[in-house]
């Protein structure tokens, strides 16, 4: 037996589950990562209103290895092999600033030929890293030719590095006091011929990639980071220079022999993703020029390293040294307490400083622009997590 009143009661109970849509529930949450999105494990959580991004939360730390803690347990030399793990393609630069910091602490200078060899490896690694980054940028925008070409040409640079240091990546070549070994006899000729070839290829890259209407459409005017914002957020490297600040550590605070090298700081004033994608390419072109100059000016013979004991002890004190890596300023803050191990090592990397711009640029843009913006930031998760 069911009266009308009972039916109404039942309907009321049912309608309890029907909730009016609130503002919060209109948003969709999307988790990007933490599977390998190309460079390493990293996640960001995006909130979407329709096609537009309204909130971004970064979740770093999937590849955190505690490099800074590990440094406190090893001496100044045994630290080198593990310190280059955060960015294996650019390992010459990440050990470069460490070596500079240790040399500053114990007060030694590197022999002139050693300084040239360091700069040479550093520039070759910058090319190596940038070609790799360019390849992945291409594939993420659906341009598979742009994946194949730099990935293949990178092999030539790796061959050069193997001849010079003995390893394709993770060279452990820079050590406090100089470099590990001298360059082989016929290296100069080989290097020049490869660089000539690479420069020819760079012209083709520009034609097929940077002048490609599809690529330009996806990056031009997308993710604009104004000069003021770039300065405020303290970004570095290509991201900063794409926003119109001509700041390159090699120029503003020359280390080793960079004050004798004539080169231009590459910067653009358009502030968009295209500028951030184009600056590293211009840097590679400039690196080719620098390598040629280095090989030309390098002294014919001489020591390449200051001989040091393996258990060097720095006097108590601290030093802060930085270099321009493929992703911007890379600096070490070393604190010594007079023992053979560093007391504290702080690594400040370009990736860690640039990723602060990602939430800033993504909020308000369309989801489809996300890959173009993310890759233009030149971000390497492993280096950021350390």
């Amino acid at each position: 037996m069911s009266s009308l009143d009972e039916k109404i009661e039942e309907a009321k109970k049912l309608s309890m589950h029907i909730v009016k849509e609130s503002e919060e529930e209109k948003l969709m949450t999307l988790s990007v990562g933490p599977q390998h999105p190309g460079t390493g494990h990293f996640r960001f959580i995006i909130k979407l209103d329709g096609d537009y991004i309204v909130n971004v939360d970064l979740d770093l730390g999937y590849v955190h290895r505690g490099e800074e803690k590990m440094c406190e347990y090893r001496n100044y030399f045994t630290n080198i092999p593990h310190l280059e793990r955060p960015v294996i393609h650019d390992s010459a630069n990440i050990t470069y600033s460490y070596s500079l910091a240790v040399e500053d602490l114990i007060g030694i200078t590197v022999p002139r030929r050693g300084q040239f060899l360091r700069a040479l490896t550093s520039e070759l690694d910058r090319i190596n890293y940038t070609l790799y980054w360019l390849a992945i940028y291409g594939i993420f925008l659906g341009h598979s030719t742009m994946f194949m070409w730099p990935a293949a040409d990178r092999e030539l640079v790796l061959d050069l590095l193997e001849r010079l240091t003995g390893h394709r990546i993770t060279h452990a070549f820079n050590i406090p006091g100089g470099v590990r070994n001298d360059m082989p006899n016929n290296f100069k000729e080989k290097c020049l011929s490869q660089i000539n070839y690479l420069e020819k290829r760079l012209k083709e890259y520009e034609h097929i990639f940077y002048n490609n209407p599809l690529f330009r459409q996806r990056t031009e005017g997308v993710g604009v980071l104004s000069k003021e914002d770039a300065i405020k957020l303290g970004v570095t490297g290509s991201v900063l220079r794409a926003s119109g600040v001509p700041y390159d550590i090699r120029k503003v605070e020359p280390y080793d022999i960079y004050n004798e090298i004539d080169f231009n700081v590459q910067y653009m004033k358009t502030c968009d993703s295209f500028a951030r994608a184009y600056i590293p390419f211009l840097d590679v072109r400039e690196s080719c020029h620098i390598i040629r100059e280095l090989l030309d000016k390098m002294p014919e013979s001489g020591d390449v390293r200051e001989k040091l004991l393996s258990n060097i002890k720095g006097p108590p004190g601290e030093s802060f040294k930085r270099v321009e890596s493929g992703r911007g300023a890379l600096s070490y803050h070393l604190v010594s307490d007079g023992t053979s191990r560093p007391y504290r090592v702080k690594i400040s990397t370009g990736s860690f400083r640039n990723i602060i711009a990602l939430p800033f640029l993504l909020v308000g843009s369309k989801l489809g622009d996300m890959p173009a913006i993310y890759w233009s930031l030149n971000y390497w998760p492993i280096e950021a997590d350390r």
């Binding site: 303290g234 600040v245 601290e318 504290r344 702080k346 400040s348 602060i356």
Partner: protein, 168 residues
């Protein structure tokens, strides 16, 4: 010729850092200690209560606009944690090669410090990392929470000296 210009650069950088350090000491008096003044690098130690005022003064009067790095160092013997901000400038070309280390100290048992996030927004992730790795609570920072370590981390902050690596 090259040597001469090198010496001139050195002189210029020393004069510049002297100007900055003198003006800070003049403004804040005994609360500021100059630890060292080397070429292109200087370090000042300030009292914890004036860290915000000092950084506002450095930003507005000398053009420091971002941090190159920010970190902490644990000193268990003195029962203190030192917090370092490495300040740099992208606006003032004279300051391009110069890095000023702004430091302060806090006690180890109750580590707290005023956050500089409103003066230099670039400290955001550096301070979060320092909170996690050394346990220093930054007053005024919106997110003193888990960052790089695993979500189920249940130990003391790992960059403290009494945290020992296993097997070492």
């Amino acid at each position: 010729m090259e040597r001469k210009s090198e010496i001139e650069l050195k002189k210029k950088s020393l004069l510049l850092s002297k100007d900055i350090l003198n003006s800070v000491v003049e403004k804040f008096g005994e609360k500021v200690n100059v630890i060292y003044d080397k070429r292109n690098r200087s370090k000042i130690m300030v009292d914890p209560e004036i860290i915000v005022e000092t950084s506002i003064f450095l930003r507005d009067n000398h053009g420091f606009d971002h941090v190159e790095s920010a970190s902490g160092t644990d000193y268990p013997k003195e029962d203190q944690i030192e917090i370092n901000y490495h300040l740099g400038s992208y606006v003032n070309p004279d300051l391009f090669p110069y890095v000023l280390v702004l430091s302060t100290k806090t006690s180890r048992s109750d580590p707290k410090s005023n956050s500089l996030i409103n003066i230099f927004p670039s400290v955001e992730y550096f301070e979060r990392e320092t909170y996690e790795m050394l346990g220093v609570y930054f007053i005024g920072h919106p997110r003193n929470e888990r960052f790089l370590l695993p979500e189920d981390w249940a130990d003391i902050p790992p960059l403290r000296k009494d945290f020992r690596l296993k097997g070492r």
